[in-house]
């Protein structure tokens, strides 16, 4: 009465229904879970119905006319790799439960893929007596899923390999190498476009060689590790803090950060024992800088002198209520020590106008006589 295929789904339906009952009776706030399991049950019962209706495409013993056309009588199904993949997934699941979550998730994905592929393959092999038609049916169902996923995976691998190569090559060599590669790709594409009768196998071979080459280079680069990447200066975002002067001397390659140099409120330069400001839009060296009140202003300190120096933004002091007690608090923000030709950012946030303080607000460099630039906060 029950066909082989329908028995599988009947069993799965019963398990899903039992799971829904157990889950619903044992878990609080289980609405979503119950909906999922009941939905699975309904879907499986639907598949049972289909299987029973089509009788697994089995041919009745009495149907002599179908003896030559039924799939079971005309072709032996080819070997399938999906049982193997499903086994691998199950093994990975066991390993993942012990080792870690990442492997568990990977195994679940492998199992799902293997189950779907296996089921569709099994179904398609019995779809008709025509093996070619069966193959076509399987492709029609699975290719819209398989091709985008495989394409994305392939592209991901190539892009990842590409990134490893870029990280391994020196910055200049990387630019040159990939300009050359992209030129070759463009040339190759132009040649293909111009010569339309090029064989598919030739194109496929060349693409494969290219992809394999990139992946191999990517693997090699990943194993070799990335090149030394220059660390740029770290802005001092902490307000009112002046830690130890020598805590992490600023990077001497700071000037390479083009984006970081643009649109600053001011650049404070120490040169020849004197401090001056360069202000965007204002011509010439300045001894006064106007900063907006209550705004965050980015300032860059450049030390052109031999001695390592730090810059202090001094916004005076005021009485601050600390747990009911008025405490005189000074507002200073500092860079760390900056070596010769080095630079570091400072982020300042003055909230009082400068005329609220008896002492002027200043940028100053300890130990340097001429190291003062006045700050005006209107």
């Amino acid at each position: 009465m029950f066909t082989t295929g329908s028995k599988l789904f009947i069993g799965a339906s019963v398990v899903a229904l039992a799971s829904a009952i157990v889950y619903g009776t044992t878990q609080d706030n289980s609405t979503v879970g119950i909906i999922g399991l009941v939905s699975a049950t309904i879907a499986l019962v639907f598949l049972v119905g289909i299987n029973l209706w089509v009788r697994d495409s089995n041919v009745s013993a009495d149907d002599t006319a179908a003896a030559d056309t039924a799939a079971a009588t005309t072709a032996t199904p080819p070997g399938s790799m999906w049982p193997l993949v499903a086994g691998l997934g199950a093994a990975l699941l066991a390993v993942g439960l012990v080792v870690g979550r990442a492997i568990t998730w990977m195994s679940i994905i492998v199992l799902i893929v293997a189950m779907v592929e296996w089921m569709v393959q099994s179904w398609s092999e019995r779809a008709s007596g025509d093996a070619a038609y069966n193959t076509m049916v399987r492709r029609r169902i699975m290719h819209p899923l398989e091709l985008p996923v495989l394409g994305a995976i392939g592209l991901g691998i190539i892009i990842f390999s590409f990134s490893r190569i870029m990280l391994r090559l020196p910055a200049v060599a990387g630019a040159i190498a990939f300009s050359a590669v992209s030129s070759i790709v463009l040339l190759f594409g132009a040649l293909l476009a111009a010569k339309r009768n090029v064989g598919r196998s030739l194109v496929a071979t060349l693409c494969t060689i290219g992809a394999v080459g990139i992946i191999a280079a990517g693997v090699t680069s990943a194993v070799a590790g990335s090149r030394e990447i220059v660390k740029h200066e770290v802005p001092s975002f902490e307000e009112n803090t002046c830690g130890t002067e020598t805590d992490g001397e600023a990077d001497i390659h700071a000037s390479r950060a083009v984006a970081a140099k643009s649109n600053l409120s001011a650049t404070i330069v120490l040169s020849g024992g004197k401090l001056h400001a360069e202000v965007i839009g204002v011509i010439g060296a300045q001894d006064t800088v106007t900063l907006p009140r209550s705004g965050y202003s980015y300032v860059r300190f450049v030390n052109l002198d031999a001695e390592p120096r730090r810059l202090i933004a001094d916004f005076g002091s005021e009485m601050v209520d600390v747990n009911g007690t008025a405490v005189e608090t000074s507002f200073k923000t500092c860079t760390q020590a900056v070596g010769q030709d080095g630079a570091q950012f400072l982020v300042v946030h003055p909230v009082r106008p400068s005329n609220a303080s008896e002492a002027p607000f200043t940028f100053n460099v300890p130990g340097v006589e001429g190291g003062v630039v006045t700050i005006v906060v209107p």
Binding site: I280, T288, T290, P292, S294, G295, V376
Partner: protein, 430 residues
């Protein structure tokens, strides 16, 4: 005659049309009807387009540049618009012709061909040449608009929800400014001088735009962006924030006021005048006391003295999310308030000021808000309940996301008597 034959029945009765068509089989009537059906909408769109381009009262018209920088942009845009218009006409005509000529009439599919190298190359090179032709002056203009080396006057412009603050650093430029000046709402500049705005923001991204004087420039927190500004003649030029910046973005307006060189010096002098306390015993004097009690937590009036004899320094950083509130030192020297959203003068006076010829504008503006022109209605409404005039986040029960700080001015719950006194005090700030 055929025209009247075809149209009369249409106007009187559609049934008659059908009868005429059915009886005679003449398709002229239906064609004419179809044409008339299309003619009206097409004519309406054409008329609307044509008439809208003739708008006289368009203070933010980018096609009417009033300064060197806006003119450069205008000069640049005319040619690409022309070229783009010609390309549009050609493409539309070719597409229209192709669609009509080769429409499906049941004919056989014509012979298919693939590619026409000469045509393809030509159609690649031609747009490239057009783009190069447009690109050269565009890049050149971009560099000219980014130039800062010829600056004659510097103004720092800072945006916050939902108003603009202008601070003029002490400088030799602008004809000489001895002390910093802070104002809001109206940017006052010397006409004919190349002014450089250094634009930033205190909270979110805003965008500064006075269409008649230059293009837009975003105000980004932590960054200083420059924008050249020059007005040929004294006058007033309207603008508005063009980057959506929250609840009252639409009310974040600004006006640039250009004064002649002497007039600008006078304006600077007026801004730096020492504080004048109201006469004791007047309503204004009581208003001053109220101002100190209620308003100086956020609003600065330079030189105002507290009961201890020291200058009162506002600390908006403790109460306002942006950390600032408009400086009201010389409120009545400008003609608007609350982000240039509301007027301090009557509509008639405003119209008169905006229409004043450029050679008389400076004197007219420097008069400030005269008693004859003073309109306190909006100011009173504002003091009565600011959020009713301009939407702001100022409900004290809903400030959790800003750490208890306001974005905008809260309702201070002032009585009518207190409002009278504050208005009396504020209208003397000139």
């Amino acid at each position: 005659m055929s025209h009247s034959f075809a149209t009369k029945p249409v106007q009187s009765n559609m049934t008659t049309v059908k009868k005429v068509q059915n009886q005679s089989g003449d398709s002229m009537t239906s064609n004419s009807t179809r044409r008339r059906r299309w003619a009206m909408p097409v004519a309406a769109v054409a008329a609307f387009t044509a008439l809208s381009s003739c708008a006289k009262d368009a203070p933010q018209d980018t096609w009417q540049p009033a300064g060197e920088n806006a003119r450069k942009i205008n000069d640049l845009q005319i040619w690409p618009f022309g070229i783009a218009g010609i390309v549009l006409l050609i493409v539309t005509a070719v597409v229209g012709y192709s669609v009509f000529k080769f429409r499906d009439r049941g004919q056989a599919i014509p012979k298919q061909s693939h590619g026409k190298p000469a045509l393809e190359i030509a159609l690649t090179i031609l747009p490239a040449l057009i783009l190069i032709g447009i690109g050269i002056p565009t890049v050149s203009t971009l560099f000219e608009l980014a130039k800062t080396s010829d600056t004659e006057c510097v103004v720092n412009v800072t945006g916050q929800q939902w108003w603009w603050e202008y601070d003029y650093p002490a400088q030799a430029g602008c004809g000489g400014i001895e002390k910093p000046i802070v104002t809001s709402g109206q940017l006052v500049i010397p006409a004919g001088q190349r002014v450089l705005l250094r634009i930033a923001s205190r909270d979110v991204i805003h965008s500064y735009w006075i269409p008649k004087l230059n293009g837009k420039r975003d105000a980004v927190p932590g960054r200083v962006q420059t924008l050249r500004m020059q007005a040929d003649q004294p006058g007033i030029y309207s603008g508005q924030c063009t980057e959506f910046c929250g609840l009252s973005h639409a009310y974040m307006r600004m006006e640039a006021v250009a004064l002649d060189t002497a007039g600008f010096k006078t304006w600077v002098t007026n801004q730096l005048k020492p504080y004048t306390a109201p006469t004791a015993g007047t309503k204004s004097s009581e208003g001053e006391a109220l101002f100190i009690t209620n308003c100086t937590r956020c609003h600065q009036v330079n030189g105002i003295l507290g009961s201890d004899g020291k200058e009162v320094i506002a600390r908006p950083d403790k109460y306002v999310y942006a950390g600032v509130a408009p400086n009201l030192t010389a409120l009545m020297t400008r003609t608007t308030f609350a982000g240039a959203a509301f007027d301090l003068q009557t509509a008639a006076c405003k119209t008169k000021l905006w229409d004043t010829p450029s050679d008389q504008f400076t004197a007219a503006y420097l008069e400030g808000v005269t008693p004859q022109c003073l309109d306190t209605v909006q100011l009173r409404e504002w003091l009565r309940n600011p959020t009713a005039k301009k939407p702001m986040y100022a409900d004290p029960t809903k400030l959790a996301t800003t750490g208890g700080k306001y974005r905008g001015m809260p309702n201070l719950g002032l009585t009518e008597d207190q409002i009278d006194k504050l208005v009396a005090y504020l209208t003397e700030r000139k």
